[in-house]
Symmetry: C2
Subunit: 460 residues, 2 copies
Amino acid sequence: MAKKIPTRLYLDEEEIPKYWYNLRADMQDKPDPILHPGTLQPATATDLEVVFCKECIKQELDDTTRLIEIPEGLQEFYRAYRPAPLIRAKFLEKALDTPAEIYYKHEGTNTSGSHKLNSAAAQAFYAKAEGLSSLTTETGAGQWGTAMAMACAFYGLGLTVYMVKVSSEQKPYRKALIETYGANLIPSPSNTTEAGRKILALNPNTGGSLGCAISEAVETAVKTDKCRYVLGSVLNHVVLHQSIIGQEAKAALDKYDIKPDIIIGCAGGGSNLGGLIAPFMGDKLAGKSKTQFIAVEPASCPSFTRGRYAYDFGDTAKTTPLLRMYTLGNGFIPSANHAGGLRYHGMNPILSKLYHDGFLEARSAIQTDVFDAAVRFAKIEGILPAPESSHAIKVAIDEALACKRTGEKKRILFGLTGTGYFDMTAYMAYNAKTMSDVIPSDADLEQGFSSLPDIPQNKQ
Amino acid sequence: MAKKIPTRLYLDEEEIPKYWYNLRADMQDKPDPILHPGTLQPATATDLEVVFCKECIKQELDDTTRLIEIPEGLQEFYRAYRPAPLIRAKFLEKALDTPAEIYYKHEGTNTSGSHKLNSAAAQAFYAKAEGLSSLTTETGAGQWGTAMAMACAFYGLGLTVYMVKVSSEQKPYRKALIETYGANLIPSPSNTTEAGRKILALNPNTGGSLGCAISEAVETAVKTDKCRYVLGSVLNHVVLHQSIIGQEAKAALDKYDIKPDIIIGCAGGGSNLGGLIAPFMGDKLAGKSKTQFIAVEPASCPSFTRGRYAYDFGDTAKTTPLLRMYTLGNGFIPSANHAGGLRYHGMNPILSKLYHDGFLEARSAIQTDVFDAAVRFAKIEGILPAPESSHAIKVAIDEALACKRTGEKKRILFGLTGTGYFDMTAYMAYNAKTMSDVIPSDADLEQGFSSLPDIPQNKQ
């Protein structure tokens, strides 16, 4: 007899996975290598060491080790807020009157409010272990900056956070939270870096972008002693750390013999989606499942659905290594009117490869539809979701309603990456019906693509 | 062999208590009865029916039934966010270098951000079951208003929330959150009620108080068809609902044979403290334990430590039934400078009786000390606490440091009632060092006491 499925499918502490899962090891066709922007040759660990922590670089370049052990000093931190709840959305199912089963992995119960803490803690742990004194990073919506501030406070490291200017203005309390944890927060673009000054000279009124903020944070890290740069998404080692989400979700579902038919995640840089789907995608690549995977991105920043699969810089100042990914071009700056996060021009290389090879689908959503879904979910399931997460909610509802029409009892799993407690300005705009939908024109996209590097690899 | 104690002492879903524990049934000396303010006779159910839901009144007046079943339709809601984590504060213990063990019950992982949802859900459930269409209530710091808004959205009831004006100004995002859940929010005192208009006429610039807001909410409930008033603290049925906190905490601790030596809770109206300690106090009253119980209140609103044990009104307009409780007088309005919540003149009658009879201790704390403890806790344990909860944290740290001096391995349990995500204005003031401590003078207190009702029962 099947076990009775509870509303919250918890794991015991001993059941928290002790290994990250490196999906690349199980991909027959691997993502293309990172390139050194000067030589256009595959980047070596030495090339990257001036910017990143050593252990993170090792993980970034490792596409063969399947399971990577989570160090005990980090497991200890994980145990303070994990396992994250895996919840059966019984109320939502009932409200939608759908035969589908809906599950969500809720990563927002920690103070950073999102899954970002999973990689922030890992990167701070390694930085401390390597003897560094401080880190720099950027933050957009603010979850990553908060997560890094918490992790650095815990492990005893200094932190400078370049926060996308429009976000720091829209979210004064998010800024205050990051500062409460002791970080030095600088709205970006700023006058503290050459990259910032250049961007301000070209466009003094810009609200900034993640690409700009990354340039500033990298520049500061390189110029500061015993300091490195950390990034909260896009890179492969971040997706590796986030595989704890999928590992936990799979362990909990396995306890009840539940095999998801559809897995849905929002996608900005790809860290949550990549982490959530990792072990399930491993099964699919091995022919063990036919799970459907859906990335949901904002229509205002449609890297997958309207982007190009090309080598591009991670930042606006064109200083980072080159990643082959779906991208809108490093010069693409999404509209400041978009309150829903996920405002990054590129996409993680693993996910980009899987999408390119047809293992992953993508859809875009406009922000009023996303907030409709968010408020509906909040009222029914009791959790006020982050705008980012709400992209996944929107498509989960769409899929559940499709099941209602067809009568299919699909099992849908989506990632609830975080809560919207520091996104009330966006909810206020939605409540006041002043929220607008911003979709870039083809000309806007062409403008972004014109910033792609003019290299042989992009002409194949 | 003793079981290994995990960081988070979870219960399985089937282990969530199905009964509330009514501590009064086990008190040899019961709290004094509620009095009708006109007749000064013990209030009957009929007296109270114009204001409150029937089932809540039944629970309010019941001091003999030990265990009261949580209805299944409410258990279903509880399962969506409970069990609340019981966490061993391993990092805090290490940072304090104390031999004490510190545990905290974390009630802040739901969107309302606090334990308030436990009673909000119960009261909305009963209101719906009784065929009401809407409810009114007041909110101070905002947790209760949010909890009621969530519960009313879930059960399909209208809600009007009178929010203490100074709070609605200090916490615009809290206001937005309540509105996102569909409630009608009115800053109090307002011109929408006679009580509000009277208070404004006397003091047009008042920041309001819970007492004023209660008057307005009660008046509106009485004047509206199929509408009743709900209160988030002070009353005995609220403490009953909150006993789920203590019931769960005790069930989890019992699994590991842990008997707390000290239990600490913050105290405003007493709902969290009363709920947390209930089953443990039952053991103490039965001679089964010698647990020490400590209430922590703000020095700015010292109901226990400087108040009088007297019959008093629950509201400023002197319209509610009379409760015998520790009170500063219904006319006492705590300083608006105090950012830390817990700004209510009275205290739950059960707790008042226990304090009067020596079973419960009380201490007061000034707000900068409370925020020192809050930020310390946030950095060490990773959770940004609500200012209210931080009163308990402050004394938990004091007690753990006392153990360090004496070498005692006491087991300390405190209630982490909620998170501070909507209290960033207070944290900003703390970070900017503009926070001040406000302690009422003896003359201020005498002024408050002068508002106590001049009745024979108060002259004994």
